[in-house]
Assembly symmetry: C2
Homo-oligomer: 135 residues x 2
Amino acid sequence: MLKIAKSVEYALFAIKYIHESGNRECVSVKEISDSMNIPYELLAKIMQRMVKNGIITSQHGTNGGYILNNKPDAIFLGQIVGALGLKIQMTDCLVHDPTVSDCARFKTCCLRSPISKIQDKINLLFDHTTVQELI
Amino acid sequence: MLKIAKSVEYALFAIKYIHESGNRECVSVKEISDSMNIPYELLAKIMQRMVKNGIITSQHGTNGGYILNNKPDAIFLGQIVGALGLKIQMTDCLVHDPTVSDCARFKTCCLRSPISKIQDKINLLFDHTTVQELI
DNA sequence: CATATATCCGACTAAAATTATCGTATATCT
DNA sequence: AGATATACGATAATTTTAGTCGGATATATG
Ligand code: SF4
Ligand code: SF4
């Protein structure tokens, strides 16, 4: 229960790898996926999502790859989760747009509010944890 | 991501229902599942698990059912999770018996320890949240 | 300009976890 | 004895997550 997505781990490993590659121009998905034993296609998708969300920058073509936009201590765990299109959602009803919830109990449920508070605390935890602390 | 098991919600609803039934002898699964719209068989199993873990007591036979062993303010969310055989486990490696982990990265992984600390905080949160606060 | 390399992106498939159901046994009240 | 209700393991259905595939676009280099 309360499992973190594998993709988040992969993203963190990738950031760590690029960061430790230091001054090199950029690092390709192939190199990362080979070194860290991460499925190539899956990691590629993860990288693309992180580009879209401004965490890394991509370089197409020969000798291309990815560069970190920020130091790991300026990237937050919550950012990674968001970039991957994921979100912390403990129940079906805790969505940004509450009209979307398909839970039949929605209107009368007593759990929503207190669970929401717990979720908020976890979100806060994620938003304050830097990638530096994780890698 | 980080979804709470539906069974936990069902368990909480059941406890709430029994609690609000007040001074009655005991409350059957059928009555709870009908009132709260919870699948009967599933709730039955949940109740059995809670019996085994001392949260409720069962009464077999005609007019049987379940009774709360404690007031909701003396039952903790973490207890419910544990009773249902669930546990907060953010990664594959964060198991009680670490030799069981089947993650190939286990030995060298840098994420385990920091993620474990986050998990500890969430566990603490669960262990300090009473059912009273939730229902 | 041609070619090799590497990112981009949506759709698809496979695997795992969760949720729900079934069948049968056991206990208890009337 | 008969009706009612819990006990419990096994199985099925559903949902979510993880991983794969195919084809497109961009760029360095010769
Ligand atoms: S409304 Fe209540 S039952 Fe429905 S998803 Fe939210 S917490 Fe769960
Ligand atoms: S060892 Fe690392 S990669 Fe493996 S499950 Fe734990 S955190 Fe994830």
